[in-house]
């Protein structure tokens, strides 16, 4: 009896608030994917977080659904949430000001890498390869090649 009671208490503890709707509409998911889930336990977006009863995503999805029902555009909804939570509400850094560096820098680095390869190739082209193989070494490879050809025959 005591054990059953204990089980019930433990299971009850496991029942977290279940405000999350069972079906996330495509529109809510679309907007949600632009917003970070800030629960601290995952790196998903509000659109993709699958933690049951997530204390951040569940109310945000409800908020998005209600704003969509009022006819607000995706951008307006995102602006509303950013005004409430701050820039960290966005799943990606905004493309303005210093934060634009987030997306720019990787491609700048690729550009620099390509430039370095171009420079490396150009430098190599300016050099004329000269065969300075020692005769002994050349003879050894010649012998190896002849042996291989012989095998093929």
């Amino acid at each position: 009896m005591l054990r059953k009671w204990k089980n019930s208490i433990l299971l009850l503890l496991a029942v977290v608030a279940m405000a999350q709707d069972s079906m996330v509409s495509p529109a809510v998911r679309r907007v949600g994917e632009k917003l970070a889930c800030l629960c601290g336990a995952c790196k998903n977006t509000v659109g993709t977080c699958d933690m049951m009863g997530c204390h951040y995503t569940a109310p945000k999805r409800e908020q998005i659904a209600s704003l969509l029902a009022k006819g607000q555009s995706d951008e307006a909804i995102i602006d509303t949430i950013v005004n409430e939570v701050g820039l960290k509400a966005l799943s990606e850094p905004p493309s303005t000001g210093f934060n634009a560096m987030a997306l720019i820098m990787p491609f700048v680095m690729i550009g620099l890498g390509l430039t370095a390869i171009y420079w490396f190739i150009q430098r190599s082209r300016k050099l004329v390869p000269v065969n300075v193989t020692a005769p002994v070494v050349a003879d050894r490879y010649q012998a190896m090649a002849e042996k291989e050809i012989e095998k093929l025959d």
Partner: protein, 671 residues
């Protein structure tokens, strides 16, 4: 006995410091006795760290709750295997594991090379022991696993511990951290040899030949560790995400990218005597990124669900990294003359240049991930406002990079060393290109409109055909010459040059992984509340809840949903996802039900029960092609093992002895 543990790590620290000083002084003064003494000190460090590790495991297995560490990360009800895994479940224990693995590596390196590389070895010992000093300092001063619970001045004990985090009580967690650490720590060895070689200005590629197997084996450990982590995440977190670009996941991926670049680039040095500076840079970057990853996981600098609790280890890591990077940079700059290439790139269309692009892409991905991981910290420092950098950013940057890398994987085998002609390229590219394009057209015609997925499948076909062609052509030649079947001929071909064909197998493994990643574009999910006998439908599956049962064992209480899955009315599988609550921590945990098939996984999480306790809240998912990721790993594993098998034919790379000489000098040489 806990004093013995604390004493052994303290003594280990003293001996490690002695080993560093004696190695360097011995090499400087050319005193073989001092060098030998330093090596013996390093072996003694191994003995002491092993003793400390054994003691911690003993305390965990015997439930000695006088120790803070045991009380925090173990409890009586936990199965013995998880008590053992608690060794690396917390900060202090995992640092001791780092120390243990490093000490073992140092022991093996010193034993293996006791009669070889006399010039380099003192510096190798010094680098290994310097790293050991860092990690011993951490457990002596910042996170001591042998700290005891005290009341006043007396040692006390508690009846039972808190236990290991329930999420970590899963079989892959028993092997994932040690495997990953074997990879992380292992790159200390090639790094140590590279530094030893630089300091002593060793001619030739001794450090590369000596550490080739180390590099391959530790790369395999890194790959296995990352895949095990992904497998754990897939099966334990309850939503099937195997990779979410979490900072700790990223930290494990960064050294993998640079070590992969190194394993490619090192071939240029072995075969052509090129890229010597670059290889030193890559092996150093891998080492420092391994240390950086450990710092990221433990310092609390970035928020992560996987990170250890915040602790005062940050300044130690920052000091070590700063001093190490400055020292290595100075050393490279000072030895530039010694690191000059022996040959030059002869043609843009050559295997060499494909390696350059391969390295560029791997490094670009590494930079993008590092940048994205650290950007919230950088942005907050500059703008004063917190921002988030989540999966959409990493996917936006890394998917195109990954696809380009896949393209390079396909063209690499088709281009010859030194130079290729356009005609030979046209012949080589013909069938792979046709195959890739036909598949993409067929997929679009069949209704697949996800651009990245279509491109990915097309490129996978391109790479598969290009690699298969290599096996086929080589196998056919041997088959014709030796009069044996095509399959035995292909095995013979692989045996003759295990590195090359093992490498191709690894590439096939990567292709399979990419197929699995592309499948994620078509994931389906559905959450529903259903009572006994009620149904829900996802994709082609109809799911019926048969019953909900409850039970308990010493460790946790559970509720289990038994769900029958049917396809077109025919029985398909019975799944039994469980919701558990661990008694010691009072924390919920989900044991999911998965039916794994090649085409797709049916994945089910018993997320909750309705408030009246009669209905189950079921999260059902269909994950197309996800199994290909795990199969891809096993193919990569097999390929790496093949690479480690000595080739039947000892290949002498005819380093062409062609040196790049400026034109005006060329005429003089010819005269």
């Amino acid at each position: 006995m806990e004093n013995l543990g604390a004493l052994s790590i303290l003594l280990g620290l003293c001996l490690a410091i002695y080993s560093v000083i004696a190695s360097i002084t011995g090499a400087w003064k050319q005193n073989p006795f001092l060098i030998k003494s330093a090596q013996r000190a390093a072996v003694a460090v191994w003995g002491l760290v092993t003793l400390a590790s054994g003691l911690l495991v003993y305390f965990l297995l015997t439930d000695d709750f006088r120790l803070v560490y045991v009380a925090q990360y173990s409890n009586k009800a936990m199965p013995a295997v998880y008590k053992f895994a608690a060794w690396w479940g917390g900060q202090a224990g995992s640092l001791l594991l780092w120390n243990f693995i490093l000490a073992c590596y140092a022991f093996v390196v010193i034993t293996q090379n006791r009669n070889r590389h006399h010039k380099i070895m003192p510096y190798v010992t010094a680098v290994l022991m310097t790293t050991q000093v860092l990690f011993l300092v951490l457990i002596v001063f910042a996170a001591n696993p042998f700290e005891v619970l005290t009341v006043g001045k007396g040692v006390t004990s508690i009846p039972d511990g808190k236990g290991l985090n329930p999420l970590l009580q899963y079989w892959t967690m028993v092997i994932h951290p040690p495997t990953l650490y074997l990879g992380y720590v292992g790159f200390v060895v090639p790094f140590a040899f590279a530094i030893g070689s630089l300091i002593t200005k060793q001619p030739g590629d001794t450090w590369i030949h000596t550490t080739r197997r180390w590099a391959i084996v530790t790369w395999l450990f890194q790959t296995a560790g990352i895949t095990l982590g992904a497998g754990w995440s897939y099966a334990v977190l309850g939503w099937g995400g195997y990779w979410v670009w979490d900072p700790v996941e990223n930290a494990s991926f960064l050294p993998w990218l640079t070590s992969t670049a190194f394993l490619h680039s090192v071939m240029m040095q072995e075969k052509k005597g090129m890229m010597k500076i670059w290889n030193i840079v890559l092996v150093s970057a891998t080492f420092f990124l391994s240390i950086f990853g450990t710092f990221l996981t433990r310092s609390g600098i970035v928020a992560s669900v996987h990170a250890f609790a915040q602790s005062p280890v940050g300044p130690y890591f920052v000091t070590f990294l700063a001093a190490g990077i400055v020292a290595v940079t100075w050393l490279i700059l000072d030895r530039l003359e010694f690191l000059k290439s022996e040959t030059q790139l002869e043609s843009v269309i050559s295997r060499e240049s494909s390696f350059l692009f391969n390295n560029l892409i791997l490094l670009a991905s590494c930079f993008a991930i590092l940048w994205g991981t650290m950007f919230p910290v950088i942005s907050e420092a500059v703008t004063g406002e917190k921002i988030s950098v989540d999966a959409p950013f990493f996917n936006r940057v890394n998917i195109p990079i990954g696809l380009f890398l896949m393209f390079l994987t396909g063209i690499g085998p088709l281009i010859a060393w030194r130079r290729s002609t356009f005609e030979s390229l046209r012949r080589a590219f013909y069938w792979p290109t046709i195959g890739g394009v036909v598949l993409m057209v067929a997929l679009v015609a069949a209704g697949m409109h996800h651009v990245y997925a279509v491109l990915c499948f097309g490129l996978c076909m391109f790479v598969t055909i290009s690699i298969s062609t290599e096996f086929y052509k080589g196998g056919r030649a041997i088959s014709g010459k030796d009069k044996i079947g095509l399959i035995p001929a292909m095995i013979e071909l692989t045996h003759r040059n295990t590195r090359r064909y093992g490498g191709y197998l690894i590439h096939i493994g990567v292709v399979l992984c990419f197929i699995g990643f592309a499948g994620a574009a078509f994931n389906k999910d559905l959450t529903a509340e259903i009572g006994e006998g009620q149904k829900m439908t996802i994709g082609r599956y109809e799911l019926t809840l048969n019953n909900i049962t409850f039970g308990e064992n010493d460790n946790y209480v559970w509720r289990r949903a038994t769900i029958a899955a049917t396809v077109d009315g025919k029985p398909y599988a019975i799944l039994e996802p469980e919701g558990r609550v661990f008694k010691a921590q009072n924390e919920p945990y989900h044991s999911v039900g998965i039916v794994r098939k090649l085409n797709e996984d049916l994945y089910m999480n018993f997320a909750n029960v309705s408030e009246d306790g009669k209905k189950a809240v079921i999260q059902a998912y269909v994950f197309p092609l996800v199994s290909w990721i795990w199969i891809g790993f096993w193919v990569m594993f097999a390929g790496t093992i093949v690479c480690l098998v000595p080739s039947k034919v000892r290949l002498e790379y005819a380093r062409t002895q062609v040196v790049g000489v400026v034109e005006k000098h060329a005429s003089q040489v010819e005269k």
